[in-house]
Symmetry: C2
Subunit: 258 residues, 2 copies
């Protein structure tokens, strides 16, 4: 059973997980951040001790959650000395093997987009769990289930694909919103107008396959509107290219099922 935790990182994921752990009665021993202020701020919220040097991370917690940028995970892990305790990272794309030095290691990947400013109900968030041995896997699965009703055992290869899918579903769809915002701003129109549409489009996926719900000029091969839209995008070659490529892909999507 995981009852005490050390958080390594003080960003969005560390903040949301830390709060959820605390709500479950877990004790957060330490919060590490290389940035002292951030360490203090999050530690303070979680009744934990702040720490800004890896060597001062105590080995007394049941589990260590590395919630930092992908690029730094390996480096931080190599400096961490916590014997046989459980060490996990929360990244979608970094392989399990990066934590090989630890006797008990795993992945604790929440498939969600986190912002510090926005509270989030973790109970519906999918958690992707992986571990190097049965005991650790069991501990992580059980622990994740105290936070969420949506816990999955996922290997590193699958997790990579899930992360890739998430880039399309989250990062790229958000960029589409961002282009829409640009287009409206140029006309001095308020982005507010698009908010009900954005929300409804996302809501539709909750009950229907997005493929079946595809609408717009491209899927109905409305060349006149497509041509006009490309002209309207005349002052941004970048947006024109994106419009053309995606429209073309949608237009052909009915006969390309792969």
């Amino acid at each position: 059973m995981i009852k005490t935790i050390t958080l390594i990182g003080s960003g969005n994921v560390a903040t949301h997980l830390g709060k959820a752990f605390l709500n479950q009665g877990v004790e957060i021993n330490q919060v590490y951040s290389y940035n002292k202020d951030n360490a203090f701020e999050l530690a303070n919220q979680l009744n934990a001790m702040p720490c800004d040097e890896i060597k001062f991370i105590s080995d007394e917690s049941d589990a260590y959650f590395i919630c930092i940028k992908d690029d730094y995970i390996e480096d931080i892990a190599q400096q961490l000395s916590v014997k046989n305790k459980i060490v996990v990272h929360t990244s979608g794309s970094v392989p399990l093997q990066i934590l090989n030095q630890f006797e008990n290691h795993g992945i604790f990947y929440p498939l969600q987009t986190f912002s510090k400013e926005k509270d989030l109900d973790l109970t519906t968030v999918p958690f992707c769990i992986e571990a190097n041995n049965k005991k650790t896997k069991h501990a992580l699965l059980e622990f994740a289930k105290t936070l969420s009703n949506n816990v999955h055992e996922i290997d590193s290869e699958q997790r990579k694909k899930i992360h890739l899918a998430a880039v399309f579903a989250c990062n790229f769809s958000n960029y589409m919103y961002s282009i829409a915002e640009d287009i409206l701003r140029q006309e001095h129109l308020n982005f507010e107008m698009l908010k009900p549409l954005i929300l409804e489009t996302a809501k539709k996926t909750q009950e229907n396959s997005p493929k079946a719900m595809q609408t717009g000029p491209a899927i109905r091969n409305d060349q006149e509107v497509i041509k006009e839209h490309i002209e309207l995008l005349n002052d941004s070659k970048k947006h024109q290219e994106i419009y053309q490529l995606i429209s073309h892909a949608i237009l052909n999507s009915s006969d390309i099922s792969k």
Copy 2:
């Protein structure tokens, strides 16, 4: 005051508007569709008379709502003979002038994505209103306000831009969901897993600028993950191209403000 209406069309927009009109105590006189069954079905729902020939459309309604595919609006309008009654279409991209033959004509464009299967609260839907004269504009604005708290006076040029923005915000974001679904399906993973992420990404736009909320490998210039993702997409050149183009655009978005 618009108190009686004839609906021309029986698709998603006609269905949702018709129901909302009825709820406001408006009488729907006739529902026209070239498809007799569809005319009967919607007419039946709206306590209206079905009609499958334009020449049988009576001229007794206060207003005529043309809710059909863009390509057919001009043709249908030319066959319609309703004297000085108000005639509007509900399209985002067809100009006002297409209805020039009518003494009182306008646009009644609901900026939303409609599915017959899914009920929708119209009170928050933005309605874009335009008309060829003051009297008609006033009548349409007042009428739209009985349905929604989000009514705007928008000219045809602005409406085109709004429609273009909506293609990005709705059609293209939905296509991003659709690619994500493909990627998961190939791994025999359930699309269900992405639903909380999709919804949360859309919800974030309700309170924050999407530009400020951009996350993912591209915005943090994580070339290692980007490279790996492009390799993972090896069996779909189409998805690879989209990934590369959008990632490149996101990567450069900080210094391209236009």
